[in-house]
Symmetry: C2
Subunit: 158 residues, 2 copies
C-alpha cells in the first residue's frame, strides 16, 4: 500500500452541497462545533438567546432521506445539546423542530424555553404573549459561552 495514495475508504466523501442554499454557503450562525456529519450553531435570535441549531453538513431536504447512520449521529448531537441546555440553563421546556419550509436543508432547532419568555407556552413562531425583562435575557446570554464550551467538550473527540 502506498501511503501517499490512501485507499478510497480513507478519503472522506465530499459534502453534498447546493450552491445558493444558505446552509451550504455558510455555517448559518455562530459556529459552536463542526463535526463530520453535522455542526452545531447558535442562532442569536432576538428574544431567544438559547436557540441552537444542529445542521446537517450535506444538503438533504427531508429527514427521512438522511441515512440511518447519519440520523443516529445527528440525534446523538441533538440529545447532547438538549442535555447541556437543561443542565446549565434549567429551562422550563426544550423545543425541538425540523421544519425547513424556507431553507429546505435539514436543520434541527433545539430551543431552551422559559416560562417568562416572550411567547411561552406558545411556539416561538406564534404571536408574542408578553414583553420580556431585558435582565432575564441577559442572565441567559451570559451563560452561553459556558454552554458552548461544554458542548465542545462533550462533542469533540478527547
Amino acid at each position: 500500500m502506498d501511503a501517499r495514495h490512501p485507499q478510497p475508504a480513507e478519503v472522506p466523501a465530499p459534502a453534498l452541497t447546493l450552491p445558493g442554499c444558505p446552509l451550504c454557503d455558510a455555517d448559518g450562525g455562530h459556529l459552536v462545533v463542526r463535526l463530520p456529519v453535522c455542526r452545531v450553531i447558535r442562532a442569536d435570535e432576538p428574544g431567544f438567546p438559547a436557540l441552537y441549531r444542529v445542521v446537517l453538513n450535506d444538503h438533504v431536504a427531508e429527514w427521512s432521506d438522511v441515512s440511518d447512520a447519519d440520523q443516529a449521529d445527528v440525534m446523538r448531537v441533538v440529545n447532547t445539546v438538549e442535555r447541556v441546555l437543561r443542565e446549565l440553563l434549567h429551562p422550563t421546556k426544550i423545543n425541538l423542530a425540523a421544519l425547513g419550509n424556507v431553507v429546505p436543508h435539514v436543520h434541527w432547532h433545539v430551543i431552551a424555553r422559559f416560562d417568562w419568555d416572550s411567547h411561552f407556552p406558545a411556539p416561538i413562531w406564534a404571536q408574542p404573549q408578553r414583553a420580556v425583562e431585558p435582565g432575564q435575557l441577559s442572565v441567559v446570554s451570559q451563560l452561553l459561552p459556558r454552554v458552548d464550551d461544554v458542548l465542545r467538550q462533550r462533542l469533540l473527540p478527547s
Copy 2:
C-alpha cells in the same frame, strides 16, 4: 416453569402514566396504530388534515430523558409516518416538531405541508398567510384513510 405464571421478562412493564395528563388519559386524537412504545394518531387539526402525531406511551417530558432504545423506536415510527405522507400526499415539505410546552408528554408532530396551505412557508403556529380553497383540503382529506391503512401495514408486525 409454570405457564400460568410467566417470568417477569414476559410481562410488559406497565406504562408510566400521570393522571390528568391529556396524553396519559386518552389517545390524543384519531388512533391510527398502537405500538408497544408509542402510538400514531391523526390530529384532525382545522386547515391541516395531514397532521399526525407520534405519541410516546410513557409519560416523559423531555426527549433526552427517553431511553436510547425507545428513542430509536419512536424515530423509526416518525420516519415511517414521514415516508408514507410523502409517498401518498406528495407534500411540498414535511415538518417535524416536539414542543410540549402545554402538554409536557413527548409527542412528535409530523405534518405534511403544502405550498397552498394557510400558513406556508411559515410554521403552522404562526399567523396565516392566506385563505385556503376548501377543495384543496378535501383532496388531502379523502386520501387519509389510505394513509392510515398504509401506516398500519408498515408498522404492525405481519
